[in-house]
Subunit: 334 residues, 4 copies
């Protein structure tokens, strides 16, 4: 049984607590949150212990791993503490919004050999993963274009927007990582980004975007288009299309049931697509954690690394630069 300390007991933390509990080989040992009320609720529900400080949990001999689902600014600190204590570390995305903090963390944990996994859950989605496989096994021949449509059902509140670090770093970062995942060993080298505020007054107040488009290029010449919106009335729109010399594979949306309706106004009408990430990526969140546990047990390196988290942030930062300068920006991963 792998005992785990959960850092952060908010919306995402709660979900992870349930996944940990449901796993046959994992046990939720400690829960920490700066908000004691949250921590206490989660600890109670899952028969875990409430701890009063991160140190108490992370440095305990009882635990083998920490799962970081706390506020983004605390991520690098907890990663560092966990790594230095020799614990396996799972950290939600993004590592941090500030590349300097990410770099400092990278140096701080340099040379420490622990399983360290970043929470880019979409890589574990069965359907998206099949797109990546089709690229790797050349089922679609040589990949030439990749198109990701990724739209949230509704905009978050102003508080969230003020803390989230901006549309590209908070939301598109998933699509940057998914692009990197599908491209596999072919790195993204250029980005052009186009952000705008078309409808959301809160995004306007937060000086953030609600609508965005991107074109990226890989070293081998693959062209990537991403489009994002903070609101899609028909649900959480999550589509990936990989086009190649021998065909195309699309990871399409998933609906709430397999019902189709026919009336005098329409035919084959399906229900709206799954509402948001907790519904849409439930399988992916579960398999992401399965992978983490498996890496701990077999002492393997997780497939989603610190470097993956850092590189996605570097692309997001370059995207902001492109949007500001209205030109193509080359990406420097150094």
């Amino acid at each position: 049984m792998i005992n785990i300390a959960l850092m952060g007991a908010g919306r995402i933390g709660k979900m992870h607590a349930e996944i940990i509990t449901a796993h046959p080989e994992a046990n939720l040992q400690y829960v920490y949150d700066v908000n004691k009320e949250f921590a206490s609720q989660v600890a109670k529900k899952h028969n875990a212990e409430l701890v009063n400080s991160p140190e108490e949990a992370i440095n305990s001999d009882t635990i083998k791993a920490i799962l970081i689902a706390s506020a983004t600014p605390t991520h690098t600190q907890f990663i560092t503490m966990g790594a230095k204590a020799g614990k396996a570390v799972f950290c939600e995305k993004p590592i941090d919004l500030d590349i300097n903090k990410v770099n400092e963390c990278m140096e701080a944990i340099n040379g420490i050999d622990i399983p360290l996994q970043i929470g880019f859950n979409r890589r574990f989605d069965n359907s998206h993963a099949k797109v990546q496989q089709a690229r790797v096994n050349k089922e679609i021949g040589e990949l030439e274009m990749l198109i990701i449509s990724s739209r949230d059902p509704e905009p978050p509140g102003l508080d969230y927007l003020n803390a989230a670090g901006g549309f590209f770093r908070d939301t598109t970062i998933h699509d940057f990582d998914l692009s990197r995942f599908i491209l596999s060993d072919d790195p993204i080298v250029e980005v052009s980004a186009f952000g705008d505020n078309l409808f959301d007054p809160n995004a306007k107040k937060a000086q953030d975007f609600d609508t965005a488009m991107f074109v990226l290029k890989s070293k081998a010449g693959v062209m990537i288009h991403i489009n994002n919106s903070r609101r899609a009335v028909y649900g959480y729109d999550q589509r990936v299309e990989a086009f190649g010399s021998k065909g195309m594979i699309i990871s399409n949306n998933q609906t709430q049931s397999s019902v189709e309706r026919y009336s005098d106004a329409s035919s084959s009408s399906k229900e709206p697509v799954l509402h948001f990430f907790i519904e849409r990526y439930v399988q992916a969140y579960r398999d992401q954690f399965n992978h983490f546990v498996e890496c701990i047990i077999n002492n393997k390196k997780p497939s989603v690394t610190f470097k993956d988290g850092r590189n996605a942030l570097i692309i997001a930062n370059a995207a902001y630069e492109s949007n500001r300068q209205k030109k193509v920006i080359e990406i420097n991963y150094e």
Copy 2:
């Protein structure tokens, strides 16, 4: 150029007149209809000659073929006249509603070698034809079940119902023939039929059905289900499903455009299916006539024969018997 005499200038006759005119190797020479007004209109529109009697048209040396789209009770008479005059004959379905008249006609034309084709247009539909091919080339392995859903968009008027010869002989006859077509050399040997009047007051007055289901069996054991309705609010529902030992092939409905809509209420919502047979089977009607012309030119036997028309009627008659006796009826084609 093949000169053709059209017998009947009603709704179906008009459609055939247009198809004849559009064909590069056919010419509409004569138009006859008991209703002179109808005949005159069609003749005028297509630069054809109006004739005052069937004999005038059918026995003319100028024409090579007749196309019979007149009222059903006149079919056998015109077929016989045409055959005796040595003309190629295309006759709309059904040959007649009375099997005795069909048998008399069969005897009357016995031994006369002309191209004679019955208007079971659905055999020429590209999609349905692929189902038949998949059965013949064993793409789906051995055929085991065949399911046909065939529903009109709205019920016809009382006059039509009174003349049409009943739901099984007028409407299901297409599905009986389509089943025979897909089964190819494996004959239908049993039928169970279930007709009812569930919604249409005119069908009630005409002592006819508006809803029906059937189960048929072939000699090789294939089970066939057909369902019919006189009203489907979403359009002309025309589906064929062939299930076999190695897979399944479905000829699905066709919509008015390739548009799909997404809203807060539904996703992937298509437009209603094509409204009725003139829209849905336009390609089939055209290719059916192409086949007839090709048979005339190359002196070939059409693929849809008098016997096909007779056998479908025999099944329809047996279906009435089954519905009356509430039991399985064996089919005797003698």
Copy 3:
């Protein structure tokens, strides 16, 4: 916490054990199976107690409910024991293959007021349930035709076939119940059945069918078609289509992912449909058990009753009669 005794630890029993364990308000207390090896494995895995006799489990004061997943011939005995002990009872379908035993059981438990639920899981499938709602709330107007296609991925072995009681009583019984569920208060009054052995040598040895079609009628005139096969190479084919005066609703198949492929040979090609009932009805099995627990807690009558189990069997028996006599059989539920 509701303590539960599980009777039967075979394939289905194991699945139920996992569902019980995962439920936040249920606890697997005892496991009994005539095969001690099976019982021991399941008990061990879920920290439950192994018992040596059904009585020991069922009569224990510790438990509040029994879940019967043992061999069919033991069902009525366990139901009776459970009811007399005042326990809530969940029993897998069918109640028994012999209507006399079912009737005896009905009398034996007559007047005992406990939650008693039969395992017609398909009623709890989200998509099928929406078809029933569309019939009840008249979204599709008046229901006129119901079409159920229900095909297993591959035939079971000879041992299973010899014990299962025949295709209609073991397999179609689900479709008979699903029809009854969708029809709601409109009873099925007639059945015509057509069974055959087209491909499976084991079914032949067991004098059983592998392919079947049915037409049933309700009191209000609704026509129902069911088709079954013991083998569908593309997976577990489970479709329900309800056609009414204002439209149609289809509960369609579900695929293993939401991926679509395009090549020079095909477009929009999806993966095979979910393999079998454990994959396809995982949500339904869970919600069926949720309902049982909810009924225990709130002392409610389950929505799937003993009578539902009995009526489905009566239809299956009438279906055999129809197939034998080759005619329509009226159904007598007395």
Copy 4:
């Protein structure tokens, strides 16, 4: 009857000849082509007259309209001749590859009031037109993103490439115009273009692209993504997606039949999409010509104007500039 002179009898000219002939109110009077062989064949097939010079046809009193389907460099000359002769003019896209020649032509015909229509056929496609309607009638609320995927089935030969004026001006010009059509009165103000040579050796020789992506912005802030390829193994990929505040509408691909296949490897597998523009846009080509005839008869201004042809070219030119400079280019329509 409107007599028409056809300029150009190559692949596109032949298609137009057939459309003219099939139209009940149009007559193909003259055919001109610099290649006499081509002209002679088309004239013969459609009972038209062969002429030896453009003037002979265009200035004839017999004709009311000219249809220009000749090589691009001749377009402006023929437009000018036709306009000065007071004929209605239909001209295939593009008007010319050189904006200076387009501007000179614009001045030369300035003030001449004739029906003048440019051949942007996609505006007349039923499905694409419904996307435009959904934007205009606000069915999808405010338009925020527009995504066009437009891919040819296979690359043209080197000769074609050398004459065609480049990927953006020859191919993407359709998508630029379609974007303008859907945006209606909201002009495109910015373009970013990304072209590359990923697979086609002929395109390389012609210093042309085979793969391209674009992001454009409208004055109102709508973001537009276009992607193009010269080769899609599954057919002529033509999709348009309009995303707005109240929903989304997609004009999806169309397949060669409505057949769906199920096997042990896949389910719901459709046939490849329609092969190329002649198959895919047959309805659009026909309705485009219907519109032209209707404008002549009713003396109306065609909905696709010279200005539309010019503006699409201006966007294409700006796109080349963007690709060269690797930055966003503002579009100047003066």
